[in-house]
Symmetry: C2
Subunit: 256 residues, 2 copies
Amino acid sequence: MESNPLEEHSLGLLPWFIAATQILGLAAVVMTGVWMGYYEGGFAWDGTSLEFNVHPLCMVIGMVFLYGDSILVYRVFRNESKTTVKILHAAIHLVALVATIVGLVAVFGFHSAQNIPDMYSLHSWCGLISIILFCIQWVVGLIFFLFPGVSYSLRACYRPLHVYFGLGLFILAIGTSLLGITEKLLFSIGSTYSKFAAEGVLANVLGLVLIGFGLTVGYVVTRSEWKWITSPEEEALSMHFKTLTERDSPDSPQGS
Amino acid sequence: MESNPLEEHSLGLLPWFIAATQILGLAAVVMTGVWMGYYEGGFAWDGTSLEFNVHPLCMVIGMVFLYGDSILVYRVFRNESKTTVKILHAAIHLVALVATIVGLVAVFGFHSAQNIPDMYSLHSWCGLISIILFCIQWVVGLIFFLFPGVSYSLRACYRPLHVYFGLGLFILAIGTSLLGITEKLLFSIGSTYSKFAAEGVLANVLGLVLIGFGLTVGYVVTRSEWKWITSPEEEALSMHFKTLTERDSPDSPQGS
């Protein structure tokens, strides 16, 4: 599809911000890998703490990096058809969900093998709430935006909620990661944390990088000049589809 | 000033959402008070853990409840002049800042008296960053929006950044509170946390209430239908002021 001239103006710094999100997101994944792989002894699937180590890595990849990138597709692929970008959005979220479930199985498996109680900490409460709401949001999003039978006006009603709660869950996932970092450090390195042990400093910096990733992704998707503008052809198609289904007027001609 | 008819439509659920924010915010303050006052022994200014107890209460009052309410004034006082609401916004933030500084002095005083190292944890890093950025945001906001000499176009350029980083800092303050809850529970109740001790459950629920406060405040201030609409008189005044100062066109006729 041809580039939409309406979108050409004011995109200015967008590619730099997208680059910043990717550098921060990949840095977070690499730092989590180094923390678990080097300082915490590596990875295995044997019920020991090496199985636990799979948990932070999968969560940072799934609930943070891929989740964030899935939100960003609406700002990166500006010249594709909206349906293509929606499918990409759902597909990346699905991969994120698979990584998240592997990370969840790892921590429950470790707890079970070591007789450690489950679901008592604020981290676990926030984490489980995030994952359950993520699954619900994914299924409801699929039904509303990719199944053909849903009317234009219903989609227009649900879209702002999907966008708000999607971003809210992303922030909650980052907050939950920070809680996980704090818990892990207090359990693993205990008193050396207060002596600025290298592992503690690395994990703290990882926390700041996660916050930086959240801030830049949030900025890119909420800045009004960078919002997705539906092309005139798609707008006409949507209006045609709307006329076919019912007569309510949509809230706004802009997409999410 | 008379009610603006432009704003009358679609406010529908706004009062209920405002009420929900206040119930959640006050619940968070009361729960922090009960946690520190009942389970952790009360408050004092004597270098013991009772001085530490002042810290969470002041932070939840200052960096969370009052900070959130200061953001909300633009949605609550819709029929006042914008200058009045700006002054109220700055004044509530100032009270929040005072509470925050008292909370900060309490924890540093406690650490100093007990020879506990400072500034090693992710909680302390996030907290200090939040407070420094909060001070900078307050001073820059005062200069840009309340000092008379700043041009309309400069204000219009800075406004979206002030709004985005203001909300970002609010979310960071809530995240920092959750980190503080986790640290405090692991230091204070240790192994009984995993046995679902009442204090741990109360503090976890406090964490969820803080998240609920953040989510509802965020929803109220970002929902497009509820945004502040400048009245025709103020719009005319602004345009007149703009014409007097320079000729750039503002980004948008809407306020923050």
